[in-house]
């Protein structure tokens, strides 16, 4: 056995033992973040990153993708864009690294549990990682690199779309309207209107609320563009659930085996763990209104992240269940083998497997700092001074309001990000170069 294999086996065992503490720490970070304490959340996460992957060695931690993406988003929300860029860049490298197949990981997932393999991000997360990276670059005014990343996201979407089975294409769509819209916007900004028109058309088909005519117009160079993006609520988090059908199937299997004079194994009735999505009420999106020079307009949702996450999980569930069935069969075979040697040994192994099955959890890792919904509004404005008001209606009497003035020149592109992290926590990020007096 090579040293690499030994290292991987050690990592699997280590990841099994540390999975619990990692999940607990992540929960602590998310709670801190949702309370609006961004700097402490960043600190907590940095400590964990320093512990799990010293000197940014992402290949040392199987949770590198979630850790880096969470920290990058927290830093972006804080306005620390230069560090956020470093984290997003590293996260993309980690996504590529862990996107490669590994025999050891697959064997570990088959023998132990799904969570002991490396997390390589869902399709949605892989696209949104590029979109958020592009938004961070846009905040810094680097449209060129933002466009490069959105091109990457578009290519990835096309690749994912090709990988979907043809009979499932009507039920499952990987297309991300936000990524397409932002790419169209930047192409239009670079005067590539023909490609921009195609992408706007695709967005209109996906979303239905952003007609092409509204976006493309003549004499664009005489106007400034203001885009307000609201990252609204918190994406549902994963919990480990048991597939009810698996218990019924196990029962049926044991009945068939009993008819062949094989003693039932009690370890079979624990069921197969599958991830399920769960959302708490304060994590739901909040109604947000923008008033521009006195005219109020509500933001329109461009991407329902929660629904996309749910759809993708449903699409991937058959594979997760199939792996669970294979694991169950392996363990049931071990019980039957021991039973065949000695009934007492069989009972002992059955008890051991019962504990193993009961403690086997589904993989609940995900990018937790994503919003539940992303809303957007676009204005085409005359150059000059503009007053912007942001109003977020929370629960009860809670209402967040803020006013600011921005100065735009012709052909400027100003992207404002609003983060509705929780009912009482709203943070807005306006590029300082557009603020009056800067």
């Amino acid at each position: 056995m090579t040293s690499r294999s030994l290292r991987n086996i050690t990592l699997i065992l280590l990841s099994l033992t540390t999975a619990c503490s990692s999940a607990h720490r992540q929960q602590e970070v998310i709670s801190t973040y949702q309370q609006g304490y961004l700097a402490p959340a960043d600190e907590l996460l940095s400590e964990q990153i320093a512990h799990e992957m010293p000197q940014n060695a992402y290949w040392k931690s199987k949770n590198a993708v979630t850790l880096l993406l969470d920290r990058a988003t927290i830093r972006f929300t804080e306005g620390d864009t230069s560090h956020a860029i470093q984290d997003y860049d590293l996260a993309l490298q980690a996504l590529d690294y862990y996107g490669q197949d590994s025999t050891i990981d697959t064997a570990g997932q088959l023998l132990f549990e799904d969570g002991c393999g490396a997390y390589c991000g869902s399709n949605l997360e892989q696209i949104l990682a590029r979109v958020y990276f592009a938004l961070t670059l846009l905040h810094q005014g680097d449209e060129n690199n933002a466009c490069a990343l959105l091109r990457q996201a578009e290519e990835l979407q096309q690749r994912f779309q090709q990988s979907i089975q043809p009979y499932l294409k009507d039920h499952f769509c990987n297309d991300n309207a936000l990524a397409k819209y932002l790419l169209a916007l930047l192409l239009e900004y670079q005067d590539d209107t023909s490609n921009a028109a195609i992408l706007y058309q695709q967005v209109q088909e996906l979303n239905g609320i952003l007609p092409v005519d509204l976006n493309l117009c003549t004499e664009a160079e005489k106007h400034a563009t203001l885009v307000i993006i609201c990252h609204n609520g918190n994406v549902p988090f994963k919990i480990s659930d048991t597939c009810p059908a698996s218990i019924a199937s196990a029962l049926a299997l044991e009945m068939i085996l009993a008819s062949q004079d094989i003693r039932p194994a009690y370890s079979s009735f624990t069921g197969i763990p599958v991830p399920a999505l769960c959302q708490q009420w304060p994590s739901c999106p909040l109604p947000t209104t923008i008033s521009l020079d006195g005219v109020c307009t509500p933001l329109s949702p461009i991407l329902d992240v929660a629904a996309a996450a749910y759809n993708e999980l449903e699409y991937k569930k058959p594979l997760i269940v199939a792996r669970g069935v294979a694991r169950f069969l392996l363990r049931r075979t071990a019980v039957a083998f021991a039973e065949g040697q000695d009934p007492c040994l069989g009972a002992l192994v059955d008890f051991g497997i019962f504990i193993a099955n009961a403690s086997t959890k589904a993989d609940t890792r995900s990018w937790r700092t994503l919003p539940s919904s992303i809303d957007l509004i676009r204005y085409r404005l005359a150059p000059g001074l503009h007053n912007i008001g942001i109003a977020v209606t929370g629960y009860g009497n809670n209402r967040y309001e803020e006013q600011c003035c921005i100065v735009l020149k012709a052909h400027d592109l100003c992207v404002i990000n609003i983060f509705n992290i929780h009912p009482h926590v709203t943070i807005n990020l306006i590029p300082t170069r557009f603020l009056k007096g800067e």
């Binding site: 050891i104 005014g141 060129n144 690199n145 069969l329 071990a334 083998f337």
Partner: protein, 204 residues
């Protein structure tokens, strides 16, 4: 039962091995540019190493041509290239600071020209820089040299990066084309242009 258990075990082991039979490794690429016999190992992402290779090649070509055409003697002052625009048409994130550092170090290594990189993102800053450069006494000279009147000339330069990808079952073949176009600072007329294609073979 024993036979069944062994069969199941063997089938599952085979299935898991067949679905994924490789270890993870930090991906690398090979430089398979036609005419390049060394096949150097590069980072799988287009980055600093690749830009350094291409910048050095292109700038050497441009400067060789310009020196041959004008018969300029750099004792009168080193020509200056002002990079006003870096147009990244690839799908890779390439930090502007990184490009600036690489181009500057390529210029230092060559020694026949100097480089100033304008920040195209901020128009005011670029305008100020251009005004300063345009009226600089040392460089107030067209790149089209008049005989016997040789001060150090300066050029405007645009860099464009494009990417094309093809693939087979095992590899992606990525062609990165870097084009540098030089413009006369006074007339804004294109003087010369050079390009280089770097072909990378990246394991899928």
């Amino acid at each position: 039962m024993k036979v069944l258990s062994y069969t199941v075990l063997a089938a599952l082991t085979l299935a898991s091995t067949a679905t994924s039979c490789n270890y993870r490794s930090i991906r690398t690429a090979q430089d398979i540019t036609p005419g390049n016999y060394f096949n150097e190992k590069l980072d799988w992402r287009y980055g600093a190493g690749d830009i350094r290779i291409q910048t050095t090649k292109i700038n050497t070509i441009l400067m060789d041509r310009w020196y041959a055409r004008t018969a300029y003697n750099c004792q009168y002052g080193t020509p200056r290239i002002i990079i006003t625009d870096i147009d990244n048409c690839t799908d890779c994130y390439i930090s502007s600071e990184m490009i600036r550092d690489i181009i500057e170090s390529a210029a230092i290594d060559d020694g026949r020209y100097t480089v100033v990189v304008g920040n195209g993102c901020d128009e005011c800053e670029l305008d100020a820089l251009m005004n300063k450069n345009l009226f600089h006494p040392k460089y107030s000279n067209s790149s089209q040299l008049l005989p016997g009147k040789a001060l150090a000339p300066q050029f405007l330069a645009k860099i464009r990066l494009t990417k094309a990808v093809s693939s087979d079952n095992w590899y992606d073949y990525e062609d990165y084309r870097m084009t540098v176009t030089l413009y006369d600072i006074e007339t804004q007329v294109a003087i010369d242009s050079a390009w280089d294609v770097l072909r990378k073979q990246v394991c899928r």
